[in-house]
Structures are given as C-alpha cells and as structure tokens.
C-alpha cells in the first residue's frame, strides 16, 4: 500500500471541466460594462530618436477616448531585476528613443478595436533614424552604435563563474577539444497572446485581469511605473493560455491598458495580435557558445572552459538570469573539478531575449551534450559510460554554486542503457542519441528584492470540513492548482475533491513569486503544506481532548479519520472535530498559514531534478530529411505529486524542445523578424510528434513537499542535444548550429561525401 492516499493518484485537472466545456474565462474572454479597447503603436525602426509625436488628430477622432505616449508616464524605466537600478532600462512607452522594431510609442483607447486601430494611423511620429546593430558579435565592437547611454561596447551584463584551477587542469589532460556552437532563438508561442484588462476607478484603485505567470510581480512593477501604492493595485490571473517564460515581466498590454484606464476611469482591454506576439514580446536567448573540454584517456573530465555571447536585444528583462543560468548549467550534470565560465550579454537592436522554459539550460545542454559525445567518440568510450563516470551523485556540492541533495542521475542512466539495448540493432540511417540534464526547483537569489517570503499560502477549513486554499501561485495550464490541491489534501487527510483553490489574485491571496523557474511545486507546495499542517494542528488540539489521549501519542488524519498513529482504529471523525473546533474557538474559522523561502543564500536553487533522454531518429541520406521517431526519458523529479501533470509536462516539453532542435527559429533581417505568423513559424504538429515514453525514477528530495521537486522545465533541456547526437549516430554528421534543419544535414552529408572521396583518391 502506498504511504500516501492522495498524492501520486491520477486526478482530473482542477479547472479541467471549465476548459473542455468552453466555460473557462480567459482574460481575452472577459468583457466589462463600458469597457474600451486599446491598441499600441509600435516603432517601425530598429533604432531611432523620437523627435515629435503628434496625437491631435487621433484624439479628435470619433470614438477615441484616450491617447497616451511616453509623456503621460512618470518617466521611469522599469526592469524585473529591481535590486539593480542600472538593469531597469525599459520605459515600455518610449519617450526619446526606440531600440527595436516593435518598441511601443503610443497607445489608444476607443469604443472598439477597429476605431482604436484606425486612430493609430492618425498618430504622427517623427523619427531620426540611427545606425543599428543586430549581431551581438558586432554589437560589442568599438564601431557599433551605442544602444543605451553609458553602456560601453553594448555589454549589458557579464557573468563569471569559476572553481578549481582550470589552466593547470588543462595541462594534465590527455585530450582537449575546442568547439563552437550557435543556439538560435525560439518563440514561446503561447496559444493565448499577451492581454490585459485594466480598470482604474474614481477611488484611485486599479484592478488588472491579465494573462500572467506572476500576479505579484505585475502588481509591484505596475506600482513602480504608475507611481501608485502596491495595495491600491489588484492583479487577478484568470485562466491563462500558457506562459513558458513569456508572461512574468510587465508587458505593453498591461502597462498601456493601465495608463489608459487611469486617464479615463473606464476599463480598457488590450489583446496583442499574433504578429505583435511574435515581434514585440520576448523570446528565447540566442547564444554564441565557445567550449573547451579536457579529459583523461579513461574519460574522466578534468576541466571545462565556457565562453558565451548572447544576443540580448533591446532590454535586460530576464536575460541577465538566462546568462547566469546557462553558465551554471553548462557544468550540469557532471562533477567538473575545474570549471570556468564567462558570459556576456550584448544589447542589440532586436527583440529582447529573456526567459523561456529551460532558461538558458536548453542551450547549454545542447552544446554540452554534443561536445561530450564528440569527446567520448574521440576517446573511444561509450556515451553512457562517459556520463556514468562523471555524473553527479547525491549530496554532491558544486563549489560555491549548489548543494545537491537527491540525485537519481545514475538510476536514469541504467534505465536508458537498458532501453537502448532493448532496441537491438537498428536499421541503416537510424540512430539513438542521448543527452543528460538537470534543472533547478526555483531560484534562491532575490533579484526582485521582495521583502515577502517567496511563497505563502492560507488554508481555511469550513464548517462542513471542506477546505479553501489561497495561494499566490499562478496556474497557467501547467497544473499548479491541481498539484497544490493534492498537497493540501494529503497533508490534511481529506479528499482531493474537498479542496477548493483560489490562486494568484493579489487582492485575496498572499504574495508568491509566481510560475517560473520550476519553483511552484517545491516552494508554493511547501507553503501550502505548512499552512495545511498549521490548520491541522488546530484541529488536533480538539481531537486530542476528545479522544483523551496521553500526551505521548501522535495523531494524524487520513481519509477523514483523525486517529492515533500507532492505533489507527482509535479515532474520531474529521468532520465532527471541525465542527467542535469551530465552536470551541468562539466560532472563529480555522485558518492555517504557511510560507517558504529557500535558505542557503547565494546558491542557485534548493533542489535539482535530473534525467536522461534518448532520441531515436531516421535520416534520409538523399535529402537530409529526418524523422524523430521516439523520445524516451528517464526522469528524476523526486516524489511524484501529480502523475497526469508530469506526463503532460514531459510530452509537452518534447514538442517544444524537439521543435527547438528540429525547426523552430526566428531569423531576422535588419532587425525585422522574417516569420511572424503561425503559418510561417515552423513547429511540431501531431504528425511530427515522436512516440514518447517515460521511465520514472523514485527518489526523495528532503527539501521538497513530500519529497517532490522540479518537473516542468528540465525536460525542455535534453531534446536538441539528443537529436544532434542521434543524427551523428545515424549518418555520421555533426550539426553545431540550431535548429538542426534537414537542409543543414543535407549539406553536411554532401561535405562528408566529398571528404571521403578525397580520402579514397589519396589512398589510390
């Protein structure tokens, strides 16, 4: 029998019935009485001075209710890295200068969308076009135009990580490889575009309904940009159509709608269209990667040196975090005794690159796992073996960076090795490639500078024993409402259906940093567990009195039965005790409170997930076309709380990460993105989707609720690398730039053919 009654069971997603019946109201579905519709005018130039904005004609147009420009703002720059003012570099409504095609310059609210759209055409903006720079390697040269005042060589942030003695260690290596890689961009492509309804009332209070990954961040960032008080702003997160990293910074829809609403005291709704979503929101960070890897003959990795230049785009956003994490995860999941990372984020006149599922780790895993296979090949060692030799183990310490507690990497390796053996001898042009990975369970560093605990929760027990959970955690489709409800039900010993969860409404829920960095299962989960335990303790006082038990006996609740742990048959109904407890407390509702902030400041994360994925591909050597046939993943995410949710995360990650490896890209020319429509943006559809298998590894993470840890993003990391390695196994060519398109494979095959012919000629 499982020691748990609720967690680990298969349940229907909270809110699922609303979603399958069309009753789920997303921000875009909400309409308020008297609501206006907003549109945003954006820069057509990658880099230009704003000389003048004339809005008079637009203001006079029938149906137009308000027009705002940078002049209507309080003139502040914002950024999510609030602790570092120099990284708060985005005005949202530009006052003097635009820095990418899509930078907002004005916004209109009108009686309908058509009128707002027409009014945009009446706004006249005089620009003085400036020279622009698009490639990060050019941006960091003396000749490049300066994008932000005072930022020399356009270097926005740099990051250094080092331990051991790298230079000495390279001298002791038997073999050293130096390789270069280029990682492309990727669009989040949430099905629901960014949108917000802002309603500012005559009492000076602002309510914002928005599609967001963090209601709390939006509340605080709006406070700063509008010069309001935090408590006067309420951010509500209705059903949200995906986030993937794109929705936890303040965006133009939220800011412009709020500013417009403040001007007219009417609700204003702004929904970005798909073109804006592709060109004017944020995206995955493109990176140039330079790697040096040294090993002993037996495959022991001695040293790694990593240099990265990232294409930052116009603003900092979460790009600073991506730069740090790609450097940290470049060492993952191996025990490098000597390691050095230098990363530079360059401003460019392109769309800002920022957080996206995996947060720098899909890039580092693609390059690292490709190079590791190349090293194994050079040394004549099996790819599994080199990973086994160097892979992290439980209780490993990454010097100055991380304390690993649970780590199921080696069990994962065993399972994947067995899987590969089970596939037997493959037909020609088929190959299986592997890639190992790890990821964090939320970040520790407080760059947002919040005075609150990182997660908090309130658990309220009602007279009939039903439970309300209040959490600031954001449900964006990933299933956090379900996971947190399961945790609460388990801790309280009630059924999953007894829980009703209220999440991510800053007016009624305690602050929580939101859904990013795979933090909510562990952090919000711990807060909910603590709140449930607090409520439970209050019941236990009454249960102990009722049962007349000796003080040495411990009580617990399971399936609605409060009982002695050692004598489960002796107990009392949970429902009776709830009634008794509420009466006994002068009718006061039972409220439990919980919070969680990770300790070990300065370290990356409280816990790490691990895994390995095997990708099987079949290449057509005539055309370079290949098919991703099968992706098998052994994944250690600690105790599984919500198995249906984990399956969904895993399979969904393969769609997104496979797309990153195979086809997704956002090429731009002179700062203009060339494929800003779903029809032109290639991604994996159902016919391209491989077979997926999950091999669960059973571990227990001491820091997580019931032993759970990350399960959402880590899975985005391995697929591109596994595909690259599989193609090499299949046809012997190696592609060092993402995405690995059939065209690149075809060219590499032709190149290989030429070389082989030359060799043959020489032999003759």
């Amino acid at each position: 029998m499982s020691k748990y009654s609720v967690i680990g069971t298969r349940v229907n997603m909270v809110g699922g019935t609303d979603k399958v019946t069309g009753n789920a109201k997303y921000t875009t579905d909400i309409n308020l009485p008297g609501m206006l519709y907003g549109k945003i005018l954006r820069s057509p130039h990658p880099h230009a001075k704003i000389l003048r904005i004339d809005t008079r004609k637009a203001e006079k147009m029938v149906g137009v209710k308000a027009v705002v420009t940078g002049k209507d703002t309080i003139g502040k720059k914002q950024g999510i890295w609030r602790r570092f003012p120099e990284l708060c570099d985005e005005e949202i409504l530009c006052r003097t200068k635009v820095r990418f095609i899509g930078d907002p310059v004005a916004s209109v609210a009108a009686i309908d969308e058509d009128t707002a759209e027409e009014a945009l055409e009446l706004i006249k903006v005089d620009y003085e076009v400036l020279p622009a720079v698009f490639d990060p390697m050019e941006a960091i040269t003396e000749e490049a135009p300066q994008i932000h005042e005072g930022v020399e060589l356009n270097i926005n942030v740099n990051r250094h990580i080092e331990w051991g003695n790298v230079d000495d260690a390279f001298k002791k290596c038997d073999h050293i490889r130096e390789d270069q890689f280029v990682c492309s961009s990727q669009a989040h492509m949430c099905m629901e575009t960014h949108c917000a309804i802002a309603s500012f009332d005559y009492n000076g209070k602002l309510t914002v309904w928005t599609s967001t990954q963090s209601s709390y961040y939006i509340q605080v960032l709006l406070m700063g940009m509008l010069g309001m008080r935090e408590g006067d702003i309420r951010v509500i997160n209705p059903y949200t159509g995906g986030g993937f990293g794109s929705k936890f910074e303040l965006d133009s829809a939220q800011f412009c709608a709020s500013l417009l609403s403040k001007k007219v005291c009417k609700p204003v709704k702004i929904v970005l269209n798909r073109m804006e979503e592709f060109t004017a929101t944020k995206r995955r960070t493109p990176m140039y990667y330079f790697l040096k890897l040294g090993a002993k003959k037996d495959g022991t990795l001695l040293a790694k040196e990593v240099r990265v230049i990232t294409e930052g785009g116009a603003y900092t956003a979460m790009g600073a975090t991506a730069l740090y994490l790609t450097g940290f995860f470049s060492s993952f999941p191996y025990k490098y005794p000597n390691y050095r990372y230098d990363g530079y984020r360059a401003y460019t006149n392109t769309q800002t690159s920022s957080a996206m599922r995996g947060f720098g780790a899909p890039q580092s895993t693609f390059v690292g796992e490709s190079q590791l296979d190349m090293m194994a090949d050079d040394l004549g060692i099996d790819p599994i073996e080199i990973r086994r030799k160097n892979g992290m183990t439980p209780d490993y310490v990454v010097p100055g960076q991380a304390f690993i507690q649970s780590c199921g990497l080696h069990q994962c390796l065993d399972k994947i090795e067995a899987h590969i053996k089970g596939r037997g001898k493959l037909p020609p042009n088929r190959g299986i490639g592997i890639a190992a990975y790890g990821f964090m369970s939320g970040g520790i560093f407080n760059w947002f500078d919040t005075p609150y605990a990182f997660s908090a929760a309130i658990v309220k027990i009602n007279i009939d024993g039903k439970v309300d959970v209040f959490t600031g955690a954001n449900e964006i489709g990933q299933g956090s409402d379900t996971t947190l409800s399961l945790i609460c039900a388990e801790e309280l010993g009630v059924n999953f259906d007894d829980i009703r969860i209220h999440s991510a409404d800053t007016g009624i829920c305690p602050a929580d940093l939101g859904a990013w960095g795979s933090r909510q299962t562990l952090m919000s989960g711990n807060a909910v567990k603590m709140a449930a335990a607090d409520a439970k303790r209050q019941l236990m006082e009454f249960a102990a009195a009722k049962l007349g038990v000796n003080i040495v006996y411990d009580l617990d609740i399971k399936d609605g039965w409060i009982h002695l742990i050692d004598r489960p048959e002796r107990g009392v109904s949970y429902f009776d005790i709830v009634k008794a407890a509420i009466r006994g407390k002068d009718g006061e509702t039972i409220i439990g409170r919980g919070h969680y902030t990770p300790h070990r400041k300065g370290m990356i994360s409280p816990a790490y997930s691990f895994g390995i994925q095997a990708a099987e591909v079949e290449v057509d050597p005539e055309t370079g076309k290949y098919k991703l046939l099968r992706a098998t993943t052994a994944h250690d995410s600690g105790q599984v709380i919500n198995p249906v949710g984990i399956e969904g995360q895993l399979e969904g990650a393969i769609m997104m990460a496979g797309g990153y490896g195979y086809c997704e890209d956002q090429p731009h020319e002179n700062g203009r993105i060339l494929n800003p429509a779903i029809g032109d943006y290639q991604l994996i559809r159902s016919l391209d989707m491989p077979e997926t298998n999950i091999l669960e590894i059973d571990t227990y993470e001491p820091e997580g609720p019931f032993g759970a840890k990350e399960a959402g993003e880590g899975l985005t990391n391995p697929t591109a690398g596994a595909i690259g390695n599989a193609i090499y196994k299949a046809v012997g060519v190696r592609i060092n730039t993402l995405p690995i398109t059939p065209e690149k494979v075809f060219k590499a095959l032709k190149e290989k053919e030429k070389k082989e012919k030359k060799k043959k000629k020489k032999k003759k």
């Binding site: 997303y26 969904g648 029809g679 991604l683």
Partner: protein, 159 residues
C-alpha cells in the same frame, strides 16, 4: 451597411445585424457571447477557433459570418448534453489532454467532426485529423490516446 444574418447556433436560432466583413468567429464571441471558441492566430493556421458548420469542422476565423447565413453551427458550448459531458470531453480530462486549455475547444470540435465522419478512426487518422491544430502544452500524444479510447468505446455517450 449592415446585413441580416440568420444562423442557428447550438440549436438556437438567431437573427443578427452584422457588417459584411465580420467573421463567423466574431459573431460567436462578440455578438453571441460564446467565448469558448478561441481566437489565437488570425490566419487559419492554429485551429483554436474550430467549430462545426453544417457537420463540417471549419476555422471560424477564416469564414465571413454572412457566408454562414442559413447554416447550423455547433460550438464547444453545445458539446455536452445537459449536465453530462460528451465522451470526448471526459476522455480529454482523464488523459490529461488538457493543460492551458486554450486550444481545447477547437481540438474537441475537430475531433467530434472527425469521429462523426469516421467513428473507427485509427491512430494515424486521428493524428492526421488534429494535425491542423497547434497545442503548445500537451505534445499531442495524450490527445491521440484520449480520442483512441473514445473510438474504442471506453466512454459511452448519453442519449
């Protein structure tokens, strides 16, 4: 400049005044308040706005409302019978084929039209049937499993 549109939606007849350029999607969402049908790409490329028009799955963002004059439309709001979910809705829930849920209404309407036409659809046909839809969350395989279980008769329809 507005014209009269006569349309039956989920069994109910409507007579509306619409502009010639109004899309079927806009009539459903903005005139009738049936916001279950989603707008996601504006270009007929993602399938989120799929409804059933006279028995056929169509993308309501790519049809002018007046083109549907005299037609019968079924949207996601019409899929359940009373308080009983349709087998496809149940199967989607059980298989975790719903995450953010934004593509779900369109995906369900396509699946229904597909199974109405071919109740014995096999795995490949199901994959083809939903290939016009983008789901950014699930990776499609859970959708295929859910629809397959409905084909197998694991979920009985309420008559």
């Amino acid at each position: 400049m507005k014209e009269i549109l006569k349309i039956k939606v989920n069994g109910q007849s409507h007579e509306l005044l619409v502009k010639p350029k109004t899309l079927l999607l806009e009539v459903l969402r903005d005139h009738l308040g049936l916001t279950g049908t989603k707008r996601a790409c504006d270009s007929g490329a993602c399938g989120a706005c799929t409804v059933i028009l006279d028995g056929m799955a169509v993308k309501s963002c790519s049809i002018l409302a007046l083109q549907a004059d005299g037609s019968e439309v079924m949207t996601i709001e019409g899929l359940a019978t009373g308080n009983e979910l349709h087998p496809l809705q149940k199967a989607f829930l059980d298989h975790g084929a719903v995450q953010c849920g934004f593509c779900t209404p369109g995906m369900l309407m396509s699946s229904k039209a597909m199974l109405d036409e071919n109740p014995k659809a096999n795995k490949q046909q199901i994959k083809e049937g939903i290939d016009g839809h983008i789901c950014r969350c699930t990776g499609y395989n859970s959708l295929v499993r859910a629809i397959t279980d409905v084909v197998k008769g694991e979920y009985k329809e309420v008559k």
